[in-house]
C-alpha cells in the first residue's frame, strides 16, 4: 500500500519538467524583472525541492566514494564494508545538510528581509533560498567528475577534504551572488525601494527601447547580472545575513561529518562534538604542507 504510493510518486514525477525549471533558474529566464512582478520566482516549490535533493544525492556519491575509489594505504584501517557504509551515509547526509541549513537560515532571512522593507511573503523567500541552493548543488554536481578523478588517484585524505572545501566554496559563493542579485531584483520588481521606484521604471523602459533600436541584441539579464539602483542600508543588512548563512552552512557540514570518511578510522555515522569546521580545515592544510 505504502510501497505503491512511493512507487507512484517516484515514477509519476515529471523529472523533465523539474530539470527544465532548474534550467530556467540557471539561465536567468525565471529571474527576469518582468517575471518577478508577482514578487516571487514563479516555479512550483515541490519540483525545486526534488531537484535539490537529487543533485545533493549526486554530489553525495562523488564525495562519499573516496574510500572505494582510491588504493588504500598500508596504514589504513578502513574495510570495504566501512567504505560502502560511508558511501550510503554520504548519499543521505549530503542532501540532508542542505535541507537542514535551509531550515536554520530561512527564519532569519525572512525576518531580515522584512526589516529592510520588502513585502515578500514567506513562500517567495523560501523559493528564493531553495533556488539558490539548487544553483549551488548544480555547480557541485558539475565539478563532481573532477572530484571523482582526484579521488581515483589520491591517497591523501587531507587533500580530498580541502578539494571538497574549495569546490563547495566556489558553489557557495556563486549561489550567494545569485541570492543577493535575485533578492534585489524581487524588491525592485515590486517597486518597494520607494525613493528609487521611479528610476527603476525608467531604467526598465530604456532597456526596452534599446532592444527596439538594435533589434538584435537582447537585454535579457543573466542569472548573476547586477541590475538597477541599490539601497545601501538594505544591502548591508543582507550582506551580514549572507555571512551568517556561510558560517552556518560550514558549521552544519561539520556537525554532520564525516562525509568523506578518513581511511584511518572505522565507519561512524556521526562523530563526537569537538573542534569546529575552520580549525579542521586549517589542520588539514597544515598537515598537507608540513606533516
Amino acid at each position: 500500500m505504502i510501497w505503491d504510493r512511493v512507487k507512484k510518486s517516484v515514477t509519476g514525477f515529471n523529472y523533465r519538467d523539474a530539470f527544465g525549471q532548474l534550467d530556467q533558474i540557471l539561465s536567468g529566464d525565471a529571474t527576469q524583472i518582468s517575471s518577478l512582478e508577482k514578487g516571487e520566482i514563479e516555479l512550483p516549490i515541490k519540483n525545486l525541492i526534488v531537484v535539490m535533493v537529487l543533485l545533493g544525492v549526486l554530489y553525495g556519491i562523488c564525495i562519499g566514494s573516496f574510500n572505494l575509489l582510491h588504493p588504500l594505504g598500508e596504514d589504513a584501517v578502513i574495510t570495504m564494508g566501512d567504505a560502502w557504509k560511508q558511501l550510503f551515509a554520504s548519499i543521505i547526509k549530503f542532501p540532508l545538510l542542505f535541507v537542514l541549513t535551509l531550515f536554520i537560515t530561512l527564519p532569519s532571512l525572512y525576518v531580515f528581509n522584512a526589516l529592510v522593507g520588502s513585502r515578500l511573503n514567506f513562500l517567495s523567500v523560501l523559493k528564493l533560498l531553495v533556488s539558490s541552493i539548487a544553483i549551488m548543488l548544480t555547480i557541485l554536481a558539475s565539478l563532481g567528475p573532477i572530484v571523482i578523478f582526484f579521488s581515483l588517484c589520491t591517497t591523501s585524505y587531507h587533500f580530498i577534504l580541502l578539494l571538497n572545501v574549495v569546490v563547495c566554496s566556489v558553489g557557495g559563493f556563486l549561489a550567494l551572488a545569485f541570492l543577493l542579485r535575485t533578492l534585489h531584483r524581487l524588491i525592485l520588481a515590486q517597486d518597494l525601494l520607494l525613493p528609487a521606484g521611479l528610476v527603476v521604471n525608467e531604467v526598465y523602459e530604456d532597456n526596452e527601447t534599446d532592444k527596439d533600436k538594435t533589434g538584435k541584441k537582447s537585454n535579457k539579464l543573466s542569472a548573476l547580472e547586477k541590475f538597477g539602483p541599490t539601497n545601501k542600508k538594505a544591502k548591508n543588512v543582507i550582506r551580514i545575513w549572507v555571512v551568517v548563512f556561510g558560517l552556518v552552512g560550514a558549521q552544519m557540514s561539520w556537525v554532520l561529518r564525516p562525509f568523506i570518511g578518513s581511511p584511518h578510522s572505522h565507519f561512524e555515522l556521526f562523530r563526537a562534538r569537538e573542534s569546529n569546521f575552520f580549525m579542521a580545515v586549517l589542520n588539514s592544510l597544515m598537515n598537507l604542507l608540513g606533516g
Binding site: 540557471l26 554536481a141 578523478f149
Partner: protein
C-alpha cells in the same frame, strides 16, 4: 581537408568558428587534435628506441598524448557549461566550445612542429632526466603559445560581452589544475630505458600536487 583546417587553426581564421555545423566542426577539430597529438606522442615515446618491446612504448605514448588533452577537456567542461549558463552566455556556447577545442588542437599542432627538435635531442643525448625536461619545456611552450590563438578566437566573443574574458580565466585555472594531475597519472610518456614498457607505471597512481608539496616543503 584536415590539413587545411589545421592551417586555419594556427592562423585563427574565423571560419573555424563560423562555417559548417557545430557537430561536424567539433569532430574535425578532434580529428586534427588526435592526429597531431599521436604524431608528437610517437616521437616522444621513441626515446629508448623503436624496435622490439620498445615499439609498444611508441604506440602507448601516441595514444596517451591525445588522451591527456581530451580527457582533461571532458572533465573540465561540465563546470564551464554551468558557469556560462549562469552568466547568461549559453547562446555563445557553441562558439566557445569551438574556440576551446581549436586551441587544444593548436597545442598539438605546435607540438608536432616541435617534434623534429625533440627527435634531434633524443639522438644527441641519452640522459633520461634531461629528456623529461626537454619534453616539459616543449609542452609548456606549446601551451603558452597556443594562448595567442585562444585570444584571437575569443576576441569577437569578448567584444560582444566582456564577461567572456572573466570566464576564460576560470577555464584556464580549472583546465590547468586537472591537466597537471592528468599528465602525472598517465605517465610514463617517454619511457625509462631501464624499466619495462607499460601503459601505466606501477605506483604512478599518485597525486601530482602532493608530490610537489613534498619536494618544496621537505
Amino acid at each position: 581537408m584536415l590539413i587545411k583546417l589545421a592551417d586555419n587553426i594556427i592562423r585563427a581564421k574565423p571560419e573555424v568558428l563560423e562555417s559548417g555545423s557545430t557537430r561536424q566542426t567539433l569532430i574535425n577539430l578532434a580529428k586534427v587534435l588526435c592526429m597531431s597529438g599521436m604524431f608528437y606522442g610517437s616521437v616522444m615515446g621513441s626515446f629508448a628506441g623503436i624496435f622490439g618491446d620498445r615499439f609498444f612504448q611508441v604506440i602507448f605514448s601516441a595514444v596517451k598524448v591525445p588522451m591527456l588533452l581530451m580527457v582533461t577537456f571532458g572533465l573540465s567542461l561540465p563546470f564551464f557549461y554551468v558557469l556560462n549558463t549562469l552568466y547568461g552566455l549559453r547562446d555563445d556556447f557553441k562558439k566557445v566550445l569551438r574556440s576551446l577545442l581549436a586551441t587544444q588542437a593548436c597545442v598539438t599542432i605546435i607540438l608536432m612542429s616541435l617534434s623534429p627538435l625533440t627527435a634531434l635531442w633524443y639522438i644527441s643525448f641519452d640522459n633520461y632526466r634531461t629528456a623529461i625536461l626537454v619534453n616539459f619545456i616543449m609542452f609548456s611552450f606549446a601551451a603558452g603559445s597556443s594562448q595567442l590563438v585562444l585570444k584571437r578566437f575569443y576576441r569577437p566573443l569578448v567584444e560582444s560581452n566582456p564577461v567572456h574574458l572573466k570566464l576564460l580565466r576560470f577555464w584556464i585555472i580549472i583546465y590547468g589544475f586537472v591537466g597537471v594531475q592528468m599528465g602525472w597519472v598517465l605517465r610514463p610518456f617517454i619511457g625509462d630505458p631501464n624499466s619495462q614498457v607499460q601503459f601505466f607505471r606501477d605506483g604512478a597512481w599518485g597525486n601530482a600536487y602532493l608530490e610537489l608539496f613534498r619536494i618544496i616543503f621537505r
